[in-house]
């Protein structure tokens, strides 16, 4: 159930109030960026996906009925656009994880090198998961959404989400171990 003030903003935005939509965007834009980044793993692409998603959400706002929370609905748009972006990128060139693509997450200098190394492997392993498993892992563990929210975004049952989480994390661990062994 979304907050009453958010519902009010949604109604005003649906009636064409641009300021109301701007306030809605301000509330959700960081989550939108993090979800997009979780999928595309590149700042420029994440920014493009976020911008596209926010414009498309505005255009589709009249169709939003409030069955799901606005944030969930928006996450679904972001996820679909992110997956489209990945497909488009993959068709042009094999997507490689470069350390330069990984932003500085505020890690202290001492641990920076090791953390970057681990994060690079983790992101690569994550990228190699099948789409659905990658989606549930990103939404649940990178973005921190609840299993219920993930199931609403993916429009499947919570049990299905948990099964994909289990399988995805298992594959992730195996792949990560391989990458670390190769690097060693």
């Amino acid at each position: 159930m979304q907050a009453a003030d958010e519902q009010q903003l949604i109604r005003e935005a649906q009636n064409g109030n641009g300021d109301a939509y701007r306030r809605l965007v301000e509330r959700h834009m960081k989550h939108v960026y993090n979800v997009a980044y979780g999928f595309v793993r590149n700042h420029e692409s994440a920014r493009d996906v976020m911008q596209d998603a926010l414009v498309r959400a505005y255009q589709a706002l009249p169709t939003f009925r409030g069955d799901a929370e606005f944030g969930t609905w928006l996450h679904r748009i972001v996820m679909n656009l992110s997956l489209n972006q990945i497909r488009a990128t993959s068709s042009r060139a094999r997507h490689e994880v470069r350390s330069a693509d990984i932003p500085d997450f505020g890690i202290t200098e001492d641990a920076e090198h090791e953390a970057r190394f681990l994060r690079g492997h983790l992101e690569r392993a994550l990228h190699e998961l099948p789409t659905l498993q990658r989606s549930v892992v990103i939404l649940r563990h990178v973005e921190g959404l609840s299993t219920r929210q993930v199931s609403e975004i993916l429009q499947c049952s919570e049990g299905t989400v948990k099964t994909h989480l289990f399988r995805g994390l298992k594959k992730l661990r195996v792949r990560l171990r391989c990458l670390q062994e190769d690097a060693a």
């Binding site: 064409g16 960081k30 960026y33 700042h43 911008q51 505020g106 299993t147 661990r173």
Partner: protein
Amino acid sequence: MNSHTAMQLKLYEFLCDELPEDERAAVADHLAGCAACRDECDGLREAMQLFPADDARPSDSLPQAFWTGILNEVDQQTRPKHPGRSRRQRVADWLTMAVVPHRRLVLGLASLGIVAVSAFVTWSHLRQTPEAPLVTESVQPVTGDAVT
């Protein structure tokens, strides 16, 4: 699906502490006696810990100017596509802006205008109405023939 596979599918919920009490106890019992499932459980826990809850988010490292830029871009792309306000709405907006701050002055001027227009209309009407002509009836002399 064998009992190990069925049990392992519950490990995620077990580690998230999302299982009902009876199922949680069943999984714990199974893990106590099954080394393979215990390894799976340890591996899954390890994988889940790759994403610590308090990990910094990618958005944390971006400056405020980035978010302001995105907001402005979205504004630019959404506002022109929205149907603009009609001429009537724009006139109403302008009137509201012009009238509301000087309400008394505007009402006074409007009253004066109404009085002036009324006076002018009345005056015009009176001026254009022709005066009633004087009735000058010619009196015919009464002749004797008329009297019988």
